[in-house]
Symmetry: C2
Subunit: 522 residues, 2 copies
């Protein structure tokens, strides 16, 4: 019910000031307690205010100061990021008013009450979210109200479409633009870094943008960054793809589905990963990145994100429904998620595995090679000239002949090489090994615990930190034989990781009959 | 997954500094970017940190500064409220560490996933909320996950009990302590200010603590404040009740159900008022205030909070279930909520109406008098010496004889009189009248619109602002006759209120047959 009297609206101007306080992603404005405007408008601390100048405007939370060294009576202070976002010089005149509540708030309230929303509702909500007009309270309410089965499949489509519309959409001027995504949860699963060079070498356009790790020990962007620059301005990214058909870049610079990043800032601390939100997040990013054909990897296993075949099938159908509404050709592949893929977990270790596969090194992890070839084969078969079933063999020829390696090296050079030598990978200086407590067959590897150990050891922030697995499911180990080695750079990190291994090694040993069943083709 | 290396924990100390920034209810800590601790711990801006000294600790959101005039490298700055909350001198050594996530977070995640929680879960969650350990994100997630029918009635009991346990509980050392509450939504409904003096004059202990208006134009505390001090320290409040059997005080000083205040800070901006949360909020406050017998007023009407008898009955049963589990004797009264109660809406106008009733002034609004007598009668019948059905007559005798007025005056003196003269009430200096557009019978008064107009006019902040109603349901009015007068102190407020009356006067005129049906006894 608070309001700004219309008489003063737009009249009072203040001089812009940069306050040297970093408030991370939250815009904070500072007004002096004795500022005439503050008194006239009846603002309260923590009110949301709108700051306007030169046709630009930002919203900010208000902090009130009585210290003229922070802000003076005729000034409006902005925290660092907010100042940069407004993009004006110190001293520039700005006008300040109480922020209007976002237009989509009535629709949000209806969703909180459990009502079904229309396409127009989702468009309005997502636009407000992408414009940073929602408070943390409103944002969280939206995420929780859309959690679980609260969205029907058409609403998921509305949400996805709205998320695409709220950001930039890349257009590659090509009839066939392929992409590949995994819903996540498997440590070491760096297939993208093999699928992209193989499929690009087969002639398809593959502008791969990836995220950094959110809760995992390494994302594709983190791993590629060991070898090359990944933070590429859109113009540079476009030029590289035009020249080399593909890239392996961080998606954060391209403003693709910006509402997704805002939503993730709330979903992550709440561990919310509902099917509807997962589908909207993944498909909006892919559509915005310009993909026309997508292969999607859903791993299942006792410690994967998806734990049963019926659950995987339900998720597949939701992905397929939304993809079809968005005219995206989607190929869902349900894969073996019983254990990590490859040998290394952590940016440097995973980059080493990828290069070993590309160089056909005898030390290359076979599971990473096989899975990548199969996914690449599926994408290659989108080429109308390729016969169904031939994709795998084409992919294997490209890999075995060294053409995938050449493609990767060209991309690394184009993006800016970091001169990574996988024969002498820059691993953490500290390490310890975890030994098998008894003779037996490896019957289980806990994905979540391996990820936890690698993160405690410092990954992905410390690139050389992580876990190097010496044994996988079905291997027979002797008592005292090392199961894996943990790398770290800092003593404290090493201690934390060691404590975690003492609580649980992540390995189960037993007899061959205890091996969990594989439900899937690969 | 971020963590504080144990080696440095508790070792680094910084000098406390007060930063002259008002961040309202949010604790903010300021560290200099070059502070060794900040670098060693890997804190990020907006991390939650724990500040400890002298056995005290508070949690704060971290802002990082590079301006030594705000905070120096060896200092920890705290925003005004946070500094006051810690209660230590400038320069006092403090230790700082990454805040541990609240213990109850796993239970919160289970509620988000739709699971039923145990009593221990609710106890842990509410304790963390009352201790301000939840972030805005976590708080909102809890509120939205408990919205609608998400809590069963036993869970509502668990929540209520946990909210009582998290704060202070007053003990009046008396077998019979009465209280009275209305679920709200009716402008002018100041029955408490009559029920308390009548029932106390009948000899019952009635320590009434009230809230201020949250979304209404006046709460009982706001109205009583026109006549007396209401912000009483608990010791003073206790002494007044011991001497006079009753008080009419603001509940905010007594730390009763502190989690409720925190939850309201999220529920209000989201307009969430679900049955479970309403029951837990109201009953926890009453139990904490020491009540043994409560009369609860649920008004129903087309613009009241509850709009149908079945809805009122469902709500009544939930209140009764939880009250019985808490050993509170509860008497639910479903009342006529078709229109505002009394004549005035706004603190001064409502205080005037209350005093007119107490003085048996012929101008006193009869509906306010009648409703108050009935509610008082119900409470008086809790006295085992009173026969069922005699309460109303006893209440009327007390009011007519002037004993209720004497009791009120004694309470006003004890709390600290503000020398309010209701014959010359200090009303807003500006006013305008809204006229009947045609001849007819008043067939509807929109409670929500009357409340909106009174708030736009400045109530409750401007005590003399509000709406004075000249006609109620069933009155016949001539074209051009004033329906009500709006009072304000500021030109802009008056203009806003006038605009609102132009959109809707809140009055419907018609024929006697169009009067909405009364479903209830009173």
């Amino acid at each position: 019910m608070h309001h700004a009297p219309p008489a003063t609206d737009g009249a009072a101007t203040l001089a812009l000031r940069r306050v040297a306080i970093d408030t991370h992603h939250e815009n904070v404005a500072y007004l002096h307690r004795d500022c005439a405007l503050y008194r006239a408008e009846g603002f309260q601390a923590l009110s949301k205010i709108e700051v306007r100048a030169n046709g630009k405007r930002i919203l900010a939370v208000l902090h009130v100061s009585s210290d003229p060294r922070i802000v003076q009576c005729d000034e409006l202070g902005l925290s660092q990021d907010a100042f940069d976002r407004l993009g004006l010089a110190k001293g520039h005149p700005v006008t300040v008013s109480q922020a209007e509540p976002p237009e989509s708030i009535p629709a949000l309230f209806r969703k909180i009450e459990g009502e079904r929303l229309t396409q127009a509702d989702f468009t309005a909500i997502v636009r407000d979210i992408a414009d940073h007009r929602y408070s943390k309270i409103e944002l969280t309410a939206f995420v929780v109200a859309c959690n679980r089965a609260e969205l029907d499949r058409e609403e998921v489509y509305f949400l996805t479409e709205a998320m695409v519309a709220a950001g930039r959409r890349l257009d590659w001027q090509a009839p066939l633009v392929v992409d590949k995504h995994c819903i996540g949860g498997l440590p070491g699963n760096r297939t993208s870094m093999l699928v992209v060079p193989i499929v690009a070498a087969a002639g398809l356009v593959f502008p791969k943008t990836s995220s950094r790790a959110i809760t995992s020990p390494a994302g594709t962007a983190d791993t590629m960054e060991v070898m090359a620059r990944v933070e590429l301005p859109v113009e540079e990214l476009t030029a590289i793809v035009r020249r080399h058909k593909a890239c392996l870049a961080w998606g954060g610079t391209a403003d693709l589905s910006p509402a997704d990043d805002v939503l993730i800032s709330v979903e992550r601390p709440l561990s919310i990963d509902s099917p509807g939100q997962m589908v909207a997040s993944i498909l909006s990013k892919k559509i915005a990145a310009g993909a026309t054909h997508l292969v999607l990897d859903i791993p299942i296993g006792p410690t994967a994100k998806v734990r049963s075949m019926p659950e995987a099938q339900r998720l597949r159908r939701l992905f397929e429904y939304v993809a079809q509404r968005l005219h995206l050709t989607l190929d869902v592949v349900i894969t073996d998620g019983r254990q990590p893929i490859g040998q290394g977990v952590g940016p440097v270790l995973e980059a080493r595995d990828v290069m070993r596969v590309l160089e056909n090194d005898p030390l290359a992890p076979m599971d990473l090679r096989q899975k990548s070839l199969r996914l690449a084969g599926r994408l290659i078969e989108n080429n109308p000239d390729v016969r169904g079933g031939d994709g795998f063999a084409i992919a294997r020829d490209i890999l075995d002949s060294g053409r995938a390696l050449a493609q990767m090296n060209a991309m690394i050079e184009a993006q800016g090489s970091r001169h990574f030598d996988h024969h002498h990978p820059p691993l953490g200086q500290l390490h310890f090994e975890v030994l098998a407590p008894a003779h037996g067959v490896v019957t289980g590897i806990d994905n979540l615990q391996i990820a936890r150990i690698a993160r405690l050891a410092g990954a992905p922030k410390v690139q050389g930190a992580g876990v190097d697995l010496f044994h996988k499911l079905g291997d027979t180990v002797a008592a005292g034989e090392p199961l894996y080695r943990v790398y770290a750079d800092h003593t404290a990190d090493l201690a934390f990781a060691r404590q975690a291994t003492l609580r649980s090694t992540a390995y189960s040993l037993g007899t061959p009959e205890q091996l969990p069943h594989v439900f899937v083709e690969f």
